[in-house]
């Protein structure tokens, strides 16, 4: 039976809540669109980005962890907390191995691209982002 967009989002959400990344952040893990607006905590957002409907279902899930800047100077210059970003990047990079163990019904889980960090102008946060590719053999 094929998995739906919501089922996959739920599978990854439940699994990611059990990972070292979830234990390390000061905030919580959220499904896409649920993170409280204005949160100043380190939150991880899980979003299904792509999904096909073939017998071997494949798709991508985005895992985005928001991080607060180290300081904000009077002139508005925002300084990234490089050390913290590196810690979160390392935990994010190891997600596929943890998820393979936590989600044995999936047939493949691997990085779709490299882990990177970026800046969100609107909320003045940094975020670590990665896409994870999954395969699920339907029965």
């Amino acid at each position: 039976m094929r998995k739906t967009w919501s089922t996959i989002e739920g599978d990854f959400y439940n699994a990611i809540k059990q990972t070292e990344l979830a234990k390390a952040i000061s905030g919580d893990v959220y499904k896409f669109g649920i993170r409280p607006k204005g949160s100043k905590k380190e939150d991880t957002v899980v979003k299904v980005s792509a999904l096909d409907a073939k017998q071997l279902q494949s798709g991508t899930v985005s895992v985005i962890t928001y991080l607060q800047p180290l300081t904000k100077a009077d002139d508005g210059w925002v300084v990234p907390d490089k050390e913290r970003i590196a810690e979160i990047e390392a935990l994010t990079d190891s997600l596929p191995e943890e998820l393979m163990r936590l989600m044995p019904d999936y047939d493949g889980i691997k990085l779709f691209d490299g882990v990177g960090n970026y800046y969100e102008d609107d909320t003045e946060e940094y975020f670590v982002s990665v896409k994870i590719k999954f395969d699920y053999l339907t029965t």
Partner: protein, 139 residues
């Protein structure tokens, strides 16, 4: 009673040369078909449920593909020149043999991608599947 059919060295070379050319044309045609179908998926995404807001059409139109043979473009489909420019930058990685390159050339394509949206995820997944299927059928 016997019959002999001789193939001199020059004729054999011509046969092999023609065979190689037809095989190479077939490889190019196959990669172009995979590229075309995959890019169609990506270009239709915003209209199939709005994975991101395709307000100007620029991102959508920057998606395209190129097939390289020994570093030269032998097939392509681009709407916006930014897509072709992005594909040409990948030329260095495809100097030997054949390569299918799928790109989103808009400057902000990566910004959209890292925020969890499907720019060419579905296209890449489709291309991977079709490529593996074609390889397994022709091994």
């Amino acid at each position: 009673m016997r019959a002999e059919f001789e193939l001199d060295k020059k004729s054999l070379e011509n046969v092999l040369k023609n065979f190689k050319e037809r095989t190479e044309q077939s490889v190019v045609a196959q990669l172009a078909e995979i590229g075309k179908r995959s890019v169609e998926i990506a270009r239709k995404l915003p209209d199939q449920g709005g994975t991101y807001h395709n307000r100007t059409g620029k991102l959508h139109n920057s998606i395209g593909y190129a097939v390289f043979k020994d570093g030269n473009v032998v097939a392509e489909d681009f709407i916006d020149p930014s897509g072709r420019e992005a594909a040409m930058k990948k030329r260095d990685g495809s100097k030997g043999g054949f390569a299918l390159v799928i790109v989103a050339g808009a400057e902000y394509a990566m910004d959209v991608h890292v925020r969890g949206y499907d720019v060419i995820d579905s296209a890449i997944i489709n291309a991977e599947k079709e490529f593996q299927e074609w390889l397994s059928q022709n091994r």
